[in-house]
Amino acid sequence: MKALAARRHHRFAPVVLLLLALLVTGGVYAALAPSPASADTASTADIETGQKLFQANCATCHGPAAEGSTTAPSLIGVGAASVDFQVSTGRMPMQMEGPQAIEKPRQFDEEQTAQLAAYVASLGAGPAIPTDEQVDPALGDSANGGALFRTNCAMCHNAVGAGGALSEGKFAPALWEVTPRNIYQAMQTGPQSMPVFNDATITPEEKRDIITYLVEQREGSAGGLSLGSLGPVSEGLWVWVVGLGLLIGAAVWIGAKSS
């Protein structure tokens, strides 16, 4: 203490004090300040901007108050997760009627998507956007995820997530490129033909296990060419055309006379 007291008139003392004061203020602010606007804690401004975006881009089909119409469902209570899934994958806004909304380059950036999601979430309670930890593939158990995927998802999306056909032009998309967050949201909200897998039927941890399993499948097959992982069609075609073709070629060469 004596040493400190002796140096209180040092010419650098005010500078040190100022630095300490700044550090304390900054630390307290960081600890206590509201977190930046996200879908969970959306500011009123976000909701208002979101509403304007909604009126301009979505209200034609979904109605001015998102109450739905004969062509589009009501969005009251679908939650932020549903909006984030549909808009961030470019499925919404739809450009034309079709068997199903297809993935395309997104029309709204991250911030606008969050604002739209905030507006729709303000209309009624629904699933929120998952946190990064909930969708982190490094934290899941891929063996359990595989068992869950085979029971609940593989019939439409193929055993390794290569996708497959449904009826009348609809299809279950391939999951190779889908982000973990979008996979989670799709399970939670059941977009279009897909059924809902809510947190009671597949718990958040189980959803993360499924994400881990799917991300692992992206490394391809240890056995070599996966041929699209489509099963007997592509594999059979390969064997009959390429395999038998090579064998026939070899047989012709062996049987031909040397010139």
Binding site: N152, K170, P195, F197, E219, A222, G224, W253, K257
Partner: protein, 347 residues
């Protein structure tokens, strides 16, 4: 018409007198022998020899490469490293074997002797003497054994020979199908008051957990011990159920089935009535349930009626309700056998 008659006449004559018609064609004989380039030109022979040496050298290099790969590129832990290791090993072995095979064939084709010789096919029928001799040997043998005179012996040997195949046939036929008790097709593990549990975790399901648009794959809530037993897979294969919740206004229920659903939640057998594949592709918006094998389509909102495909009967419905704690339970077993038809189904 006349052409046809003519050709049928030709057919008759040729079948009556074999060879008569064939006289018209000259035997073209063997094609002229062409000498190979390697036979005519020593340079070409030298070249072919070099090619063969190169092919065998490729084989040697392939063998050495695969040995090096075995030590230098271990499979490792990741999918990519396993793939790389097996690919490199396989390529090495392919070149090692193909080098030998292609080299040997090329050697035989270009350098080994090129004589052509003709092997005449001998007649299949033996000469009369040989045939008579064979018959004589057989009759002599039969006379020598005295089988014609000793009736008991004849009976004994025939019985022994005739009975022996039973040792193979009886176990073979006995193991076909294994179990002929078809009455168990009629029942599943479901019983009154049994809770519905989630496949594969085995958690029981509350009615409140199933939101509209949900699809849940369901198994009977049995003990953990039973779920790990050997017999469970057979029971599960019959008892699997798909549970979905629809808006109750969209649900059409037959008069005799009112009360089989609970607040828009319906449960149907997941075994297709066509040939028994698991029907599980559920389209939430159309309420259609598709079978992946032959595209049979069932309308879940309307008693799982067949709307498309080869299935002939709707999926059997599991009558459900809730217990005091809010868990979904079965009211009873299915009221009809699940899965495809079999002969005794309606008895």
């Amino acid at each position: 018409m006349s052409d046809h008659q003519h050709s049928s006449e030709v057919g008759t004559t040729s079948s009556n007198a074999p060879g008569a018609e064939l006289e018209r064609f000259d035997d073209p004989g063997l094609p002229e022998h062409k000498s190979r380039m390697a036979d005519r030109d020593p340079k070409a022979a030298k070249r072919a020899e070099r090619q063969i040496v190169v092919l065998f050298a490729i084989s040697v290099i392939g063998t050495i490469a695969s040995l090096i790969v075995y030590f230098a590129v271990p499979p490792g832990e990741t999918t990519a490293s396993v793939r790389l290791s097996t690919l490199a090993l396989g390529l090495g072995m392919a070149f090692a074997l193909l080098g030998i095979g292609v080299g040997a064939v090329h050697w035989a084709k270009t350098l080994m002797s090129d004589h052509e010789h003709v092997d005449e096919r001998h007649e299949q029928r033996s000469s009369e003497e040989v045939r008579a001799e064979a018959v004589k040997a057989l009759t002599d043998g039969a006379q020598d054994s005295g089988i014609g005179r000793r009736g008991v012996l004849k009976g004994a040997v025939i019985s022994a020979l005739a009975l022996f195949p039973l040792t193979i046939a009886v176990p073979l036929i006995g193991s076909v199908g294994g179990d002929w008790n078809v009455s168990k097709f009629r029942h599943t593990r479901w019983e009154r008051g049994m809770r519905l549990a989630i496949d594969p975790s085995g958690r029981p399901i509350k009615a409140a957990d199933v939101t509209i648009g949900s699809a849940v794959h369901v198994i009977p809530d049995v003990s953990e011990e039973e779920r790990l037993s050997h017999a469970w897979i057979t029971e599960k294969a019959k008892a699997v159920v798909l549970l979905v919740r629809l808006d109750p206004r969209e649900l059409k229920e037959a008069e005799d089935r009112v009360g089989w659903s609970y607040d828009g939640i319906v449960a149907y057998s997941k075994i297709c009535t066509h040939v028994g594949c698991p029907v599980a592709l559920y389209e939430q918006q159309t309420h259609h349930l598709l079978c992946p094998c032959h595209q049979s389509t069932f309308d879940v909102a309307d008693g799982a009626k067949v709307v498309f495909g080869p299935a002939k009967r709707p999926l059997p419905q599991l009558p459900i309700t809730v217990d005091d704690e809010g868990y979904l339970i079965a009211q009873d077993d299915f009221d009809e056998p699940v899965g495809p038809s079999y002969w005794e189904r309606l008895k």
